[in-house]
Symmetry: C2
Subunit: 442 residues, 2 copies
């Protein structure tokens, strides 16, 4: 008998890992998982696990399904402190009249740290173990994310305009690279280059980003083709669509995560597949800001890697990736007029395995697979809202809500047990949120 740190026997288990039988992952009944030193050391039928492994911590979970932790591939975590500050407004009025003034007045290192901690709590409570962020003061993002125990990928933010964080493109990059040097060896930390968007970053800065990506082997996280207006203005200004411009500047390749992508020609869809450009789909943000519909059915059928992001809570207005992936599936069906588009398993894989791949962390997370990190969540399907249960995977995608997520682990560490956060203090977070609320609305 071998000794494990933890044995889990859920009623069902969904791997999200591509296999010969099932490209989107397999759903097993009566399976178990053994965890040791933060890793999945066995995943097999329960009787095999029980024959080979023993542990002081052996748990059986009838009625629950074990999944990989969700990977939220696009958020601005700290903006949680601005959740719902302005709604039902056109994008530019929302940005110029509300968000930018609030950010201009309030954003500093403490804001980012406090906002990210609140965001981390919300994300853990909806099964997310890994997030990829883009915001000012990424060091504060990393500090908060690591304190929560989550896999945290922070952006080396780069933008042509000054902010409270940095005054020049050079300073943005230098500060980000300095943060990278201090965090790169921490197992839960990661960074991507994060040029904000084609309309806020000039050619020179994009070329520098492309060079840094090669030099440091860093991914690139960028907003792209969010709205028809963005594309039309760029064509007016440069004679090129932003996709083509970034392609010409060497920014679009398999290390790139392009966010939103609501406006794509058939050629651009094919190029995403050919070049391996990863697409972060944020359906609820695109809907709420009336940005458009990303052609996710066409992208996935062309072979592109599509993953899910929540965007910031200021636009959306939450970080609930379970709701977001449901919206992604439902929307794809209606938009492509094909009810078979983005089926339940495929959608769960988008929010897990595909997300890990998109940010270059697929060797560690995103699926329940031998040798990967034990980044996992349990969802209780034995609730009135998810009974009867003919198909547990469909039930997770189409019927479950975030409160049914009971337990979350990252690298084998329990971050939530029975809805109670283990690394964060809810009462303190609520008090901090309230203090910021008083300050910001003043």
């Amino acid at each position: 008998m071998q000794q494990a740190d933890l044995l889990i026997f859920p009623e069902w288990l969904f791997t999200a890992h591509p296999s010969e039988n099932s490209p989107y992952g397999e759903c097993h009944s009566d399976y178990g998982v053994a965890v040791k030193d933060g890793q999945i050391v066995a995943i097999a039928p329960s009787n095999e696990i029980k024959a080979q492994w023993q542990s002081d911590n052996s748990e059986t979970h009838p009625g629950k399904i074990l999944l990989p932790g969700f990977v939220n591939t696009h958020c601005h975590s700290a903006m949680t402190l601005l959740r719902g500050i302005a709604n039902d407004l056109p994008l530019m009025e929302w940005l110029e009249g509300h968000i930018w003034p609030a950010e201009g007045t309030h954003v500093n290192k403490q804001f980012v740290y406090d906002g990210t901690l609140l965001a981390a709590a919300e994300m853990l409570r909806c099964g997310t173990t890994c997030f990829n962020d883009m915001y000012f003061f990424p060091e504060a993002t990393l500090k908060a994310g690591l304190q929560a125990g989550m896999r945290t990928s922070a952006g080396i933010i780069a933008i042509d305009f000054p902010s409270a964080y940095a005054q020049s493109p050079r300073e943005y990059l230098d500060k980000g690279l300095d943060t990278l040097s201090r965090y790169k060896d921490k197992p839960n930390a990661k960074m991507m280059l994060a040029p904000h968007a084609p309309y806020t970053v000039g050619d020179e800065l994009f070329a520098e980003i492309a060079a840094l990506s090669t030099e440091h082997d860093l991914g690139i996280h960028v907003h792209l083709h969010e709205t028809a207006f963005e594309v039309a203005s760029a064509v007016d200004q440069n004679g090129k669509r932003p996709f083509q411009r970034l392609l010409d500047l060497g920014v679009l390749n398999s290390k790139t995560l392009a966010v939103h992508m609501t406006q794509l020609t058939d050629d651009e869809i094919q190029q995403c597949s050919d070049l391996g450009v990863n697409v972060a789909h944020c359906p609820e943000s695109n809907l709420k800001l009336a940005s458009g519909f990303s052609p996710t059915t066409a992208l996935t059928r062309a072979g592109a890697n599509v993953c899910i992001g929540t965007d910031g809570a200021a636009s959306n207005n939450d970080l609930d990736i379970l709701s977001e992936l449901r919206s992604a599936s439902l929307l794809a069906k209606a938009q492509s007029q094909d009810a078979t588009a983005l089926n339940a398993a495929q959608t769960l894989q988008m929010a897990t395995y595909n997300g890990a791949k998109a940010i270059g962390w697929e060797d560690k997370t995103g699926s329940l697979h031998l040798g990967k990190s034990a980044d996992m969540q349990l969802i209780d399907l034995n609730r009135l809202e998810t009974q009867p249960c003919y198909d547990p995977v469909a039930q997770v995608v189409y019927s479950a809500s975030r409160d049914q997520i009971t337990d979350v682990w990252c690298r084998g560490e329990a971050l939530m047990r029975d809805r109670t956060l283990k690394t964060l203090n809810e009462a303190e977070l609520l008090a901090t949120a309230n203090a910021w609320h008083e300050k910001i609305r003043a």
Copy 2:
């Protein structure tokens, strides 16, 4: 001092009742509500309530918002027992290969009673106090809904095809009218004529329905223009769009609730407004079955009464009207390319006041208003997912989830307190759901 049965002082209160100041309803802080004999007998600033009313049951709810109970204007409650039995399939394959065979084998009075009880529990847990149903054995629907303590509007189902419930159009109508005669004086009961759809109901039956509607002063609940295929086939067959056919047959007027309506010309939109035809929008069902997008922004701007339904849990796969109304708002914005479409207050009003109006129950329910029934819910916004809270109405629509609904009353009777159902037994319902699951999947 006057004596009330219940005094409630929430942190905020949203009326959903049109007023001179605010067509979609008003949100007040520091207000209270007095309830007596099931009715709202006062709604005013807290200090005024406290000066005039006393009660042994006086409750203060910091951090919570009081809303009218939701009105789910379109569901097939009993189909909850088939929740998730088939997914990600085209409509006809889903119906012919899965739903109709399961219904053919299993639907009987007990199925409808058990399924509706399960549905009622799910609906209460998401703040719904009133539902409008269409299914076989409506007497069983009424029995279950009334047992749950909910306002129950059951359909006098009519269809040209035989079923376990009735063999002929005449038998459908006779059975429904018999049920009506036995339930019409019960305060929580109501019926609407429910011809299934233009493609399952012939001209003769529709004409009879129109006559019965006048004779008994009954509303008409009908699926209409669900898909482009439905409209195109009808045009092929009758040379008319179903909307025009029903108009010619005298079925479309202010007592009609037309469900789905994804395919509408500008003329038809204007006619809905001119004739007062009520539209039940079921966004998540339309998405999941790839049926299309109902033009809700155009309908509401034309002045039509648009309300919200969940459709059955077999297609959707839940009865979560809070999620449904969020989808309605988000979808309207993207579809009309206008982020100001269906704002938060307007969307809450669609799921409450407009729903009550659509089924002819606006004198009793759908808003917090003097003299109306005390059909109410409390939503706890003091959660990590809804903090900070700059705008409680936006927070309900864009950030809250069903588990934040803590308490529900109908006609002043507490149906849920602190998430515990008072009229239904959750453990028994889960056991019943499980028994049906074993039987159906066999």
